[in-house]
Symmetry: C4
Subunit: 214 residues, 4 copies
């Protein structure tokens, strides 16, 4: 079992999931599919600004997951069955993101009602978005731990490899904190998801990029 076909299959799932995100950005229609009244389309499009933001945030999250998955395979030189199943677990989380994105996009702007403020729909939607992102981060850390502990990697000294496990874990903790923020202020948590995505884009620059010959 080579890593190549596993990478090809994973690339396929990443590519489909990231492209399906656009299905959550809807063309505005009135009830029963009637066209929006003339001269009101621009307003209808700007009113759904949140669906563009969630599209961008989820695109960056999946994109960076792919970059890091890609980087991981500079070191992973063989795979075994447990590793394949941890990879399936990661892909199961990735493929779930279009759903949590659609949920967040639909409900984050619903006005809060009085009473029972904790379980407002916008809070629940943002918390689930955070939970799916946390699970994805957790699955990624588990995949890396599996690769390290089962000796599937090469070109990286064991100390450095192990030191990355708590780093992944701490990233997951930050994502988990965003779930708490979701219950306080859903839009703030959306901003936090965006910042986290950008942070991850830059943060891990030094470590996994060098070629396997290092």
């Amino acid at each position: 079992v080579s890593t190549e076909r596993m990478e090809a299959f994973s690339d396929g799932v990443f590519a489909v999931a990231i492209t399906l995100l656009i299905l959550d950005v809807h063309v505005p229609f009135l009830q029963h599919g009637a066209l929006v009244l003339n001269a009101h389309l621009w307003r209808a499009l700007t009113d759904q600004w949140v669906s563009y933001v969630t599209y961008i945030v989820s695109f960056i999250i999946i994109g960076i997951m792919w970059v890091n998955h890609h980087s991981m395979f500079c070191y992973v030189v063989r795979v075994d069955r447990p590793f394949l199943f941890f990879n399936l677990l990661l892909l199961m989380c990735i493929a779930f993101i279009p759903f949590s994105t659609a949920l967040l996009s639909a409900y984050i702007q619903q006005p809060d009602s009085s009473g029972n403020s904790f379980m407002q729909n916008s809070h629940v939607a943002a918390a689930i978005y955070g939970a799916v992102s946390t699970a994805t981060g957790f699955a990624f850390g588990a995949l890396w731990s599996c690769a390290v502990l089962r000796n599937l990697i090469e070109g990286l000294d064991p100390v450095t490899a192990r030191r990355m496990i708590p780093r992944f874990a701490s990233g997951t903790v930050v994502y988990a904190l965003s779930i708490v923020v979701a219950f306080v202020n859903p839009k703030l948590s959306l901003a936090l998801f965006f910042l986290l995505a950008v942070f991850y884009a830059f943060d891990q620059l030094p470590a996994p990029v060098p070629a396997p010959s290092s």
Copy 2:
């Protein structure tokens, strides 16, 4: 005709089918696309727990099919037209799974009515899910038989290769039994599908994993 492009095409179909499963997990809405009343979203999401379970079960089924397809190609070193068509047959079954998943997810919780208890909608949906899984298992066994009988494999002694045919067949029989269970208790059959998926994940570990140089 090399095996590479056939693997690439198959990987593509597997990847698209497995990712399309998320389209069967719906964001909760009231009739005509209205948002769920505030503070009721969590309840609406938990009410559709069955769609998460079917997502996970089908994801594992397709994922394991991919792992086994992948393992098979450690031995299959050339392809001919009949093999290509058996592969198409397998992919036709795989691509059908998002439909049977959506069917099961929609109907398994419909309460039984009195009278005509055999053809309750929940029974029919679970039976069809089982039938599609059985057909997929059958197509997989047929593909392997085709490879063995037409001498398309290398690196595996013929006796071992042939002995795997009845093993695949017996797996198909177990799946077929799940169709019977579906008519007795649909939710039990769902649990059975889950157990079968996990069982297949572990069962075939020893046989197809070793590299072709063995």
Copy 3:
């Protein structure tokens, strides 16, 4: 510009188009998304038998197109811009098939009304399905002609290569005849599409299969 990435991209489009076909097989619902009355699901599923048939026929058509595309690239060893655009034209036809399939599946069972019998909806749907298949066959022939005339192939003597052009053309003519049949009897034309798909599966067996070293 190598043929590899072009094959990878084409494989992707083939794989997505063939898997999207399942989106045309619908879970039965009553109006407004209500569940079908209990014990009526089996009947509702059998009533839409035509959508399974069109799924299978279109799956075979796209699958065989892929097999032949695959076979063609045993000989095509370089690509140029015109070839890339003829390939895009073929992919544009392939990606259109899920639409013509959905159209046929929705309208082929609509009962004929009296008067204006020529333009019955079922006739029109079947004719358009035939027209898209004809266009796909035509694009495939054009792609092969382009490869032959621009000297992009190797491992095949020019006479054999050229002799295949009228063969592709004659196949296109047969598909075009199915458009005529569609106006006489749409269900007969569906049977014809099925037979044509199976015929193409076997017909071209001898020619393009041998390895490029022949």
Copy 4:
């Protein structure tokens, strides 16, 4: 980090996005999913001619973007993190095109109302289609600039490589002009998008096609 997996992932996104375009071509139905009255399907299909035109235009735009992306990687021989993120930015634009296509297809034929003529829905839809195309062109130019400035290319003398940056920029300006035309006459802008797509198909023929050994 090799260019291969990045190309594979990009190919996947291009392939999914280009195939999802067909989801914007709808089978005609009356309200509530009822079939079109008999003998009226042909008329209903021709009435939605604009959705075929937008399908073709967007297919060509994404297809040519893929061809040029493909050509670019004849020269790009290594990638770094910034390049990966510019590539993600390009893919984010590409994956957005099915949305702008659906928007244009739905609204370009809505008749203009008197008053507030500037923000007619058809104008807005065409302008957004143009803006997404412009952003895609801009992202493509940025990706090339990134490759040139960060020394990721080989087989092309630096002067030629740099001279291509203003060429990409000028293409983006032409696309930006189409936004202005959209506010004057949306259908004219659709014709312009088509011409631009065909123009780009031929225009860049000489430059990026030669093999990297040139």
